[in-house]
């Protein structure tokens, strides 16, 4: 009987059921066998492979010090002598997706074994790592866990047997920016003319070389003299007045609001709240200056170093999709223009 392959699985603190944001700073832990979604992954692997270890790490612990922690996790992975590595699926969890991508890239480079992860298209991990490795497409929440783990299991074997032949749409991974040679019955000249005719006649056609979409925004001119510059604070960390009077959502915001800090020298904790489900709010609730540094700004204002716009602009940036983020950004830009705001410091958590 063929030897069962050895697999290692990486998951975050939430999927390991250690807790949510309150446990996001938990360090590296190694457990024997499958844990949490690893059980489903083991089922999908069947007799082909055995998950010999699960490595767990808090999302903040790894995301805050990626360059330090990835090599540490890699050591743990190496010591398990795996044939396959799985991370996630991360769905739309940004820190988790970045960690999964970074770990798979490191495993692929250092161990040369199949390293598979899956995440939702808007996960920042996709853009960061899609050129380094195959990232499978996944839904935006754990409803589809069983399907994703099945796809991950099957894809790992395809990778191992060098059987990944098809285009991204067929194989289910995000475009890697590669060009693939294929045969065609038609000459390139014929295909080119067919495409042009289709374009001119407003019929659909499929380009053979999709050009990368570059949204390069020119760097705004630097501030010449902060003393004569009105700087506004903005945040996507969900800082709002206590009671959340504008009923801002804890995720997926579509708007922002401006709140006055006139007459205040510091943000008092009883006056503010954080509406954001994506991180541990304890520290900011204790002292909201830790996200909008009003007290520090007043110090610099008194020293004549800078001028502060008396309101801060706030929204909640958890899983806010690209379209809504752009909408919020455009309306913030409009607000800045209308209120003579010269520059912005935007704090993200």
């Amino acid at each position: 009987m063929a030897q069962k392959l050895r697999a290692v699985h990486y998951i975050n603190q939430f999927f390991a059921q250690l807790g949510g944001e309150d446990s996001a700073s938990v360090g590296i832990q190694v457990r024997q066998g499958p844990v949490g979604p690893g059980l489903g992954l083991q089922k999908a692997l069947g007799d082909r492979a055995e998950i010999v270890a699960t490595i767990i790490c808090g999302d903040n612990y790894i995301a805050e010090k990626l360059d330090e922690v990835v090599p540490q996790v890699l050591q743990e992975i190496k010591s398990c002598a795996p044939d396959l590595f799985f991370a996630g699926p991360a769905f739309n969890a940004g820190r988790y997706g970045v960690a999964c991508g970074a770990l798979c890239a490191a495993v692929k480079k250092e161990l040369g074994i199949p390293a598979v992860t899956a995440m939702y298209q808007e996960n920042p991990g996709v853009e960061l790592y899609r050129s380094d490795l195959f990232i499978l497409k996944a839904g935006d929440n754990a409803r589809t866990m069983a399907q994703e783990t099945q796809k991950m299991a099957d894809f790992a074997f395809k990778l191992r047997e060098n059987q990944v032949q098809g285009f991204p749409e067929e194989e289910g991974f995000y475009e890697r920016g590669w060009m693939k040679l294929t045969r065609s019955d038609k000459l390139a000249s014929q295909r080119g003319v067919d495409m042009l005719l289709a374009k001119l006649q407003h019929r659909p056609f499929q380009t053979e070389i999709p050009l990368p979409h570059r949204d390069e925004v020119p760097r705004p001119a630097p501030v010449k003299d902060l003393r004569h510059t009105t700087v506004a604070f903005a945040t996507d960390g969900g800082l709002y007045p206590a009671g959340n009077p504008d009923k801002m959502p804890p995720a997926n915001s579509t708007t922002f609001h401006a709140y006055s800090m006139d007459g205040q020298d510091t943000l008092k904790k009883e006056d503010y709240t954080i509406i954001h489900n994506g991180f541990d709010k304890t520290f900011l609730l204790q002292d909201p200056n830790r996200i909008v540094p009003l007290d520090a700004m007043r110090t610099l204002e008194k020293e004549g170093k800078v001028r502060m716009y008396p309101e801060f602009l706030s929204t909640t940036g958890l899983t806010t999709n690209v379209v809504n983020s752009q909408k919020i950004g455009k309306s913030m830009a409009q607000y800045c223009r209308e209120h003579n705001i010269d520059a912005v410091v935007l704090t993200s958590t």
Binding site: E64, V223, V231, F283, Q334, L346, T347, T349
Partner: protein, 68 residues
């Protein structure tokens, strides 16, 4: 994404954040790394007066990015 729209309107903006590779991958022009996801302008291990002094330094660093 929000920062890109502000920049597109010509407003010098600095993103003060922890996961700088994410901001870089989107093409944000001015990024200033913070020391933590949970308390960007904070240093909760320090006593309050020292934390505030540290915060002033962090803010100065972020504001300096606007001038570059």
């Amino acid at each position: 994404m929000i920062v890109k729209e502000l920049e597109r309107a010509g407003i010098p903006t600095v993103q003060y954040c922890n996961m700088t590779p994410v901001a870089e991958s989107i093409g944000v022009n001015r990024i200033c790394p913070s020391t933590s996801i949970k308390y960007p302008f904070g240093a909760p291990d320090l006593p309050p007066e020292e934390e505030k002094a540290a915060r002033v330094k962090m803010l100065e660093r972020a504001l300096d990015c606007l001038t570059e």
